[in-house]
C-alpha cells in the first residue's frame, strides 16, 4: 500500500487505503477508501463547505439508483443545509 500523509481527520481505528480528489471549477472534494477494523467505507469530504459522509456498500448501492433529478435537488441549497 502506498504511504499516505498523516491526517488527523481520520480516526485512529481506520486506515486510508486509497485517496483521490474530484475537482472542477465550482467545487473540490476529497474521496477516500477507508478500511475499518472489520470492513470498508467510502468517505466523501468537502472541506470548503465543511461536510463529510461515509458510505458502506449498501449505502453506495442506494446511491447508484438515485436519479440525476435527485442529485440536482440536493443542490437547491448550493452550500449545504441552511438554518
Amino acid at each position: 500500500m502506498a504511504e499516505l500523509p498523516d491526517d488527523d481527520t481520520v480516526d485512529p481505528d481506520v486506515e486510508v487505503e486509497l485517496e483521490f480528489s474530484i475537482i472542477n471549477e465550482f467545487a473540490s472534494v476529497k474521496v477516500r477508501k477507508l478500511r475499518t477494523r472489520n470492513g470498508e467505507r467510502l468517505e466523501i469530504d468537502a472541506p470548503r463547505v465543511g461536510h463529510s459522509i461515509r458510505f458502506d456498500a449498501l449505502g453506495l448501492e442506494g446511491l447508484s439508483w438515485q436519479s440525476e433529478e435527485t442529485v440536482s435537488g440536493w443542490l437547491e441549497t448550493p452550500f449545504g443545509p441552511e438554518g
Partner: protein
C-alpha cells in the same frame, strides 16, 4: 448607405468603422447560425467548453442525457459569468457571485438563502439560462440566437454538400484544445481570404511555394502517390481551380492536380481509410476528392475550413492532409479572436495523425509559414485605413466581374455556382452581396426575428 457596390467595390469603412461593426452584431451575428464547437470536444455527459457567439460568451456542454446544449454564460441573477475555465466537466454551474446554481440542462436549481430572501416565492422555473437553438451537422455544433432562423441545413444551402465531402467522409476528432490568437484585423479580412482568395498565394506565400511545400513535382515523385497516377502534364497549370459560390454567402475553392487517376484516390490519407470515405460519400463527392489537394471554404459569416495536402515535408514523410477549422470571432472593428481546431479521422493510425498535425503546424498553425505571411498583410489593412483619407477609399473586387466574366465550370456536377478559373474575385463578391443584404435588413428588434428564450420559457 450601401457599403458594397454592384460592380465589386467595398468601402473601407466596412473594415474599420465601429458603427458598422455594431450593426453587424445585430443584423448578422444575432441572426445567423454560428459554429461553437466540434462534438469530439465534449464526448461525455458533463464535458463542456466555453466559447463565444460574437460578443456573447456561451457554455457548450453535453447534458446528463447526452444532448449537446449551449447556454449564455451569464447567471440569471446579476449577470456574472458562470464558467471561467476554458473547459471542464460539471453537472451544475454554481455562480461565484451569490451562489445561484443551474443544472447542465440550464434550469435554476439552487438559490442560497431562498427562505430569508424570497420566502420561497421566487419563480425558479422562469429563471433558466438563456439557450440558443442548437443543431449538429457532420460533428460540427452550431447555434443561433434567432428562433425564427431557417434550419441549419437550409441556411447552409449547397455548402452542406461541400462540408459533407470534408467532415462527413468519416468520424473526426479534434486534436487538443483550439489555438487562440487575438489579432489586429477585421473578421471579414480572414473570412474573404479563406472563402477563395487564391490570387494572393503566389505573392504573399511565395517563399512557401518556392520551397516546394505544395509543388506537384514532389507529389508526383512520391511513391505513395505516383502509383495512383495516370499522366501528368507539366506544361499545364500545376492545379485546376474550381471556385464555388452560394446565394447564402458561403463560398470556397477546390484545387486538383492536373493528373488522371484510375480509381478513387484520397490524396494525403492512409490507404486503409479510403474504403470508409467511399462508403460515406456520394459518387460526385468521391470524384471531387480524387486527386484533390485543397478544399477550402468560408461558411458565412465567420467559419472557415481548409483541407490541404502538404506534399513536401523536407524528409521522407508521405504527403499528408491537414484538415482544420478556423473561426474569425469578432471583438471590435479592428480586433478579431482567431480560434483554430485541427481535425483528424478518428480511426487513422497514431503515426499518420502525427504527420497531419505536423503538416498543419508548419503551414497554417499560428507559427506556420502561411499564417505569418497572411498576418503581415491583414494587420496592415487594419492599421493604415483608420484615418479619413484611408476611409474615403474602397477595396477592389472586380476580378472576373461583368467586364471579364468568370467562366462557369462545365466539367463537374457540384451544387451551387461552380466556376473554372485560377484567379477571380467571384467568391468575395458573393460573400459581400450576402453581407450587404443582411446589413440592409431592418434591425433584429423590429424585423420579427424572435430572440432565443431561457430554458423552460417560451
Amino acid at each position: 448607405m450601401a457599403l458594397v457596390t454592384d460592380d465589386g467595390k467595398v468601402s473601407r469603412n466596412a473594415f474599420v468603422d465601429q458603427g458598422v461593426f455594431e450593426q453587424e452584431l445585430d443584423r448578422i451575428y444575432r441572426r445567423t447560425w454560428l459554429f461553437v464547437a466540434h462534438e469530439s470536444e465534449i464526448p461525455t455527459a458533463g464535458d463542456y467548453v466555453t466559447r463565444r457567439m460574437a460578443l456573447d460568451p456561451v457554455i457548450v456542454i453535453r447534458d446528463e442525457n447526452g444532448a449537446p446544449r449551449v447556454f449564455l454564460n451569464s447567471c440569471r441573477h446579476r449577470g456574472a459569468s458562470l464558467c471561467s475555465a476554458d473547459m471542464g466537466n460539471t453537472s451544475h454551474f454554481r455562480c461565484s457571485y451569490h451562489g445561484w446554481t443551474f443544472s447542465n440542462e440550464g434550469k435554476l436549481r439552487g438559490v442560497p438563502g431562498m427562505q430569508e430572501m424570497h420566502g420561497n416565492t421566487l419563480d425558479k422555473d422562469s429563471l433558466g439560462l438563456l439557450e440558443p437553438r442548437v443543431e449538429v451537422i457532420f460533428g460540427l455544433i452550431f447555434a443561433t440566437w434567432n428562433d425564427s432562423a431557417p434550419t441549419l441545413k437550409d441556411s447552409l444551402g449547397p455548402m452542406a454538400w461541400y462540408m459533407e465531402a470534408a467532415f462527413g467522409k468519416c468520424e473526426h476528432e479534434v486534436i487538443g484544445p483550439p489555438g487562440r490568437l487575438l489579432t489586429h484585423t477585421n473578421w471579414k479580412t480572414g473570412a474573404e481570404n479563406y472563402g477563395g482568395d487564391t490570387y494572393h498565394v503566389p505573392t504573399t506565400h511565395k517563399s512557401a511555394v518556392d520551397l516546394g511545400v505544395y509543388g506537384p513535382d514532389h507529389l508526383a515523385a512520391h511513391p505513395d502517390t505516383a502509383r495512383h497516377l495516370g499522366e501528368f502534364d507539366p506544361d499545364r497549370n500545376p492545379y485546376l481551380y474550381h471556385p464555388y459560390t452560394t446565394d447564402q454567402g458561403h463560398t470556397g475553392t477546390v484545387l486538383h492536380l492536373p493528373m488522371k487517376f484510375d480509381k478513387p484516390t484520397f490524396l494525403g490519407y492512409e490507404d486503409n481509410l479510403w474504403p470508409e470515405f467511399e462508403e460515406h460519400l456520394d459518387d460526385e463527392q468521391i470524384k471531387m476528392r480524387t486527386g484533390m489537394n485543397l478544399l477550402l471554404a468560408n461558411v458565412f459569416p465567420n467559419l472557415s475550413w481548409i483541407e490541404l495536402v502538404t506534399v513536401y515535408h523536407g524528409d521522407d514523410t508521405p504527403p499528408a492532409m491537414a484538415l482544420h477549422v478556423r473561426q474569425w470571432q469578432p471583438i471590435a472593428a479592428d480586433k478579431t479572436e482567431l480560434l483554430v481546431w485541427a481535425l483528424v479521422p478518428k480511426t487513422a493510425s497514431p503515426e499518420w495523425k502525427l504527420w497531419s498535425q505536423r503538416a498543419f503546424i508548419r503551414t497554417l498553425g499560428f507559427g506556420g509559414n502561411f499564417e505569418t505571411d497572411d498576418y503581415q498583410n491583414w494587420t496592415s489593412i487594419a492599421d493604415v485605413n483608420r484615418g479619413p483619407a484611408g476611409r474615403s477609399l474602397d477595396h477592389q473586387y472586380q476580378g472576373g466581374g461583368p467586364a471579364n466574366p468568370t467562366p462557369f465550370a462545365d466539367d463537374v456536377n457540384w451544387p451551387g455556382k461552380v466556376y473554372l478559373t485560377e484567379n477571380t474575385d467571384v467568391t468575395m463578391r458573393a460573400m459581400y452581396k450576402r453581407w450587404q443584404e443582411m446589413m440592409d435588413a431592418p434591425p433584429a428588434s423590429s424585423n420579427g426575428d424572435r430572440m432565443a428564450s431561457p430554458v423552460g420559457v417560451g
